[in-house]
């Protein structure tokens, strides 16, 4: 079974960010990057599928040369092959990313194509579904369970409280939601081997973006709060403030 997982690196969600001097993005020096948390579920599902069905797992990323770091992280988890679709002037526009991926995948067939449901960086949640659409491949988003048989898959998703079950013929595209699995930790041995593993590098064709980030700002500061110790009249005080100041009752 040919299993492909598309990944990206994002700033560690724990780290603070600093907005870059041009005011259009964040200063890369201010963050450490990690494999996108939702992509961890996608990679894990790819590896588990291989363990059950055989075949190999290829991770693909789009971006400048420095993005290959995320492929090495995938090798450390047990991914077999890594492909960098090199795009030096990468602006993180989902349409561009999807087009670059689709033009590669069009000529490189797969059985299962996995994505994280969104990136913890720009929070778009578009790329996987766009790729599916561009390739004309069936897709199910935000899955929490995947069972693969030979030519089809049954998957589960939660949508606003409803539990939905779909059957999809392969090849198919899935985007991974939290709850799909419990991602493994990298193994030391694989991590050592990952350093020497070859990454296939393919120059991507530049495409004009459909969206542009004009500026970026910190969220507005919230006003100083009124915090007090619990006391016999603390709750009355709180309710009074909610009633008179916030007017929520």
């Amino acid at each position: 079974m040919k299993i492909v997982v598309c990944v990206k690196d994002v700033p560690d969600t724990e780290s603070n960010i600093r907005i870059a001097s041009d005011g259009k993005g964040i200063d890369p020096e201010s963050v450490t990057t990690v494999l996108n948390p939702y992509d961890e579920f996608a990679v894990e599902e790819a590896l588990r599928t291989k363990e059950v069905k055989g075949g190999d797992v290829t991770a693909i990323t789009v971006g400048p040369k420095s993005s290959e770091k995320v492929l090495r992280a995938c090798f450390g988890l047990g991914v077999d092959n890594g492909i960098l679709l090199k795009y030096e002037n990468f602006t993180n526009d989902p349409f561009v990313t999807a087009s670059v991926l689709a033009s590669y995948l069009k000529n490189n067939p797969f059985d299962i194509l996995l994505f994280g449901k969104k990136g913890a960086d720009l929070n778009n949640g578009q790329t996987g579904l766009m790729v599916a659409e561009m390739l004309g491949t069936p897709s199910v988003s935000s899955i929490i369970k995947l069972e693969i048989s030979d030519s089809s898959a049954v998957c589960h998703r939660e949508a606003e409280g409803n539990q939905e079950t779909y059957e999809v013929s392969l090849p198919a595209v899935f985007t991974a939601e939290k709850g799909l699995n419990e991602p493994r930790y990298p193994s030391l041995k694989l991590k050592m081997q990952a350093k020497k593993k070859e990454i296939q590098e393919i120059e991507a064709e530049e495409i004009s973006p459909k969206t542009n980030i004009v500026s970026m700002e910190y969220p507005p500061k919230r006003p100083e709060g009124k915090v007090f110790e619990d006391s016999p009249d603390a709750v009355n005080k709180l309710v009074e403030m909610l009633h008179n100041e916030a007017k929520v009752f």
Binding site: G125, K210, P223, L238
Partner: protein, 325 residues
């Protein structure tokens, strides 16, 4: 490309999502600015009777596709119908809700039409005749202003952020057929188990009472349930209690859960990790109850009580009872 605005008025079980009204209100404002019209689209099974209402929220034309094949169908069927309608209408701006369905439809329609897409927007305006939106990025640590370079410009709107305005539109109701939108046989819905009736959707709730590890057990969430039901609130949860299986993932607020913007967010026994704050920091009022005075949640709270939630919450419930009595 025409000049009109297109709104997907999403309904569930015969009721519009709150964000459908919010999107229509925004569309009406933009249409007035542009001197153009608003086209709304209702799709589903037994939805015809809903159309009339949209006239009061500024819809000039209301497309209705009412067909039994749309009961419990995969999102692709909606996508086919909408993409067709958007093409025919030559709309320049398309609005959807940032719901499970909207999140699925926008990128797919965008890829099909070669459109610009921005998801989970918290505002939208025209700048030099180009649609510009604000979006939360980097786990809500920054807000990006994004311009949509191509038309149609498709955006999904976060629920509970923009106002609902009543304004009369022309309200012409147009019955349409599903057309070529037959279900893609490659994706088949096998089963749907619907959520328990009457459960409040946390994304639409005006008030949320949220709990975390500080509740100490699954059973103790009854304390929050009681307070919530008095106020007509929804109950939210932190990641750790969802991971522990105490609450469903559907109730999780935060980076790997939902992003909510209620009028009032009462947060009990949640210390306030970066990931949790990402999901609720745009709430209008935040009330924190926590026994740890150094809990990060107090840094963003408007009001806070440092104390034992098992002492404070029952008294709060009693006070609320008095007020609403």
């Amino acid at each position: 490309m025409g000049n009109s605005l297109f709104v997907f008025a999403e309904q569930k079980e015969g009721k519009f999502k709150k964000v459908a009204y919010e999107a229509l209100s925004l569309a009406r404002n933009l249409a007035d600015e542009l001197g153009s019209e608003v086209e709304a689209s209702i799709i589903g099974n037994q939805v015809r009777s809903l159309a009339e209402e949209l006239k009061d929220y500024g819809a000039d034309r209301i497309n209705v596709v009412d067909d039994p094949s749309l009961k419990n169908c995969p999102p692709d069927l909606y996508k086919n119908i909408l993409a067709q309608q958007i093409k025919e209408s030559e709309s320049r701006i398309v609005l959807l809700g940032s719901t499970a369905l909207g999140a699925d439809l926008a990128p797919k329609i965008g890829a099909e039409l070669g459109a610009s897409v921005a998801t989970d927007c918290i505002s939208a305006e025209l700048q030099e005749n180009r649609l510009t939106v604000l979006r939360s990025v980097y786990v809500s640590k920054a807000i990006a202003r994004v311009s949509l370079e191509n038309e149609p410009a498709i955006l999904t709107l976060r629920t509970n952020v923009l106002p609902i305005n009543k304004k009369e539109g022309k309200g012409e109701i147009i019955k349409k057929e599903p057309g070529d939108g037959l279900p893609d046989p490659k994706v088949v819905m096998k089963e749907i188990i619907k959520s328990s009736q009457g459960k409040k959707d946390i994304e639409e709730a005006d008030i949320i009472v949220a709990g975390g590890r500080g509740l100490k057990s699954q059973e103790n969430f009854a304390l929050l349930e009681e307070l919530a039901s008095l106020m007509g609130a929804a109950v939210g949860a932190s990641r750790s209690v969802v991971d522990a299986g105490w609450r469903s993932h559907d109730d999780q607020v935060g980076q790997t859960g939902k992003t909510v913007s209620p009028n009032l967010y009462i947060v009990c026994g949640i210390s306030g990790s970066i990931q949790h704050l990402a999901g609720m920091s745009s709430s209008k009022y935040i009330v924190a109850i926590n026994k740890d005075p150094d809990a990060p949640i107090f840094k963003i709270a408007d009001y806070g009580i440092v104390g034992d939630l098992f002492e404070v919450v029952p008294r709060l419930t009693e006070e609320v009872k008095k007020i609403i009595a």
